[in-house]
Symmetry: C2
Subunit: 221 residues, 2 copies
DNA sequence: CGGATGTTTGACTCGAATCAAAAACGGTGG
DNA sequence: CCACCGTTTTTGATTCGAGTCAAACATCCG
């Protein structure tokens, strides 16, 4: 059954046997969100763990001045970035589906029972958080100390590396990419045009980018 | 015995009985670091959990252009910010003692055994990481979207709130505070002078700051 | 096809970094 | 306890990256 998928998808349950997966499946709830809809908002009670079964979710915060900061882009198989699941806290970020998205959720208390019963789950979750912390540490370092040019060049090469191809489609609108990199859509536009003039990349229709000189791109300051 | 302290200090062990604390104490190693010394560097193998028994440790990263970004300031009772303890990874950050510091460490494998034996520990660690993620998310949002002025105003009010006093001593040199806030020592100096001219704060000898108008400070854009 | 949404380009402004030098501070040893 | 030296901080002058605003242009989708 299609609905079994989300539990199997998620690495945090990977060490469990299929009987245990059945148990988990029985306590999971399924939701569907159309593109553009809100999964959760700041101040919502944080009472369940979310698993993205299919789709793409942007998780962002609002600064005091109202500006948006994209923190994570959750893909199929990712779990919700909110880390305070284990305490009684409210959310501090917003989640929005970028494409039609299926989500499974497990209530906090159920998930805590699971962690008590299967300690391997907590260790897996710890690893997920660990990776996220590392990613966020690098993001912080980079927005705080590097130029827009360098950050964008970095984003392009990292995305290409993750997809193992030199030609790929930007999965975000420039506006969202801008809030991710801590800049503006205009600046991104200009810098991409600059990279193209320098012969480092080629922009093709449909937000597709081809990297011509990855080495030089990485040297961008 | 004084050396028992570090295990008792740490909230992650708070639910354990004293017999269990004894066991943990027996597998812990003690280290001392003079002010200015390095606890660990990038590329060091990450093979143990560190607990700050006494002192202050700055944890920072280097950006590609060589600039420093302060990520955390570990105080007495904090555990090491490196999140990838549970996988076989290398460090990506540096740790430096700002004052003479005592540290206890537990080897990775020992700590993993502890987590298997006492699941409450993993949940506590999860909470610590969760808080750190939240803090880092706010830091990222703030450096990426707010002005130096707003970030500094925020830092001052938050520090005061944490210490529950309007008069406090800056625990960092301006150079370190600058890398934390993603700016330069010169800018901090100027902005503090500005706040003082505006009557929001008073600067006193010994890096002491007194807040005169917390409300107005928070409104700084 | 047409309107809305997203993107590019241009002109302008401004915050904050940089560089340089003076001033203040703080720890050390005599 | 004070004088001294290195470090930290402040102040000033200047530069520059990148944000803002506005308008033209492209693209997407119903």
């Amino acid at each position: 059954m299609a609905e079994h998928e989300c539990v199997q998808l998620v690495p945090i349950f990977s060490e469990l046997g299929s009987e245990q997966l059945d148990i988990i499946e029985s306590i999971v709830r399924h939701h569907h969100y159309p593109a553009g809809s809100t999964l959760f908002g700041a101040d919502d009670p944080l009472d369940s763990l979310m698993i993205v079964a299919y789709g793409q979710v942007k998780v962002y915060q609002l600064a005091a001045n109202g500006r948006e900061q994209l923190l994570y882009l959750l893909q199929t198989g990712d779990i919700d970035g909110e880390a305070a699941l284990f305490e009684n806290q409210r959310r501090t970020s917003f989640g929005e589906a970028l494409v039609p998205t299926d989500v499974c959720s497990i209530r906090r208390s159920d998930f805590q029972d699971l962690m008590q019963k299967y300690p391997s789950i907590s260790i897996k979750v710890l690893n997920v958080f660990g990776k996220r912390l590392n990613q966020l540490e690098r993001q912080t370092t980079s927005t705080a100390t590097e130029s827009v040019e360098a950050r964008l060049a970095n984003y392009i090469t990292e995305t290409a590396a993750a997809l193992k191809t030199y030609t790929f489609k930007l999965s975000l609108k420039k506006k969202d990419l801008a809030t991710f990199l801590g800049t503006t859509p205009e600046s991104i536009s200009r810098k991409l045009a600059l990279f193209e003039r320098q012969g480092l990349i080629t922009q093709k229709p449909g937000k597709v980018i081809e990297i011509n000189d990855a080495d030089q791109l990485l040297l961008t300051e």
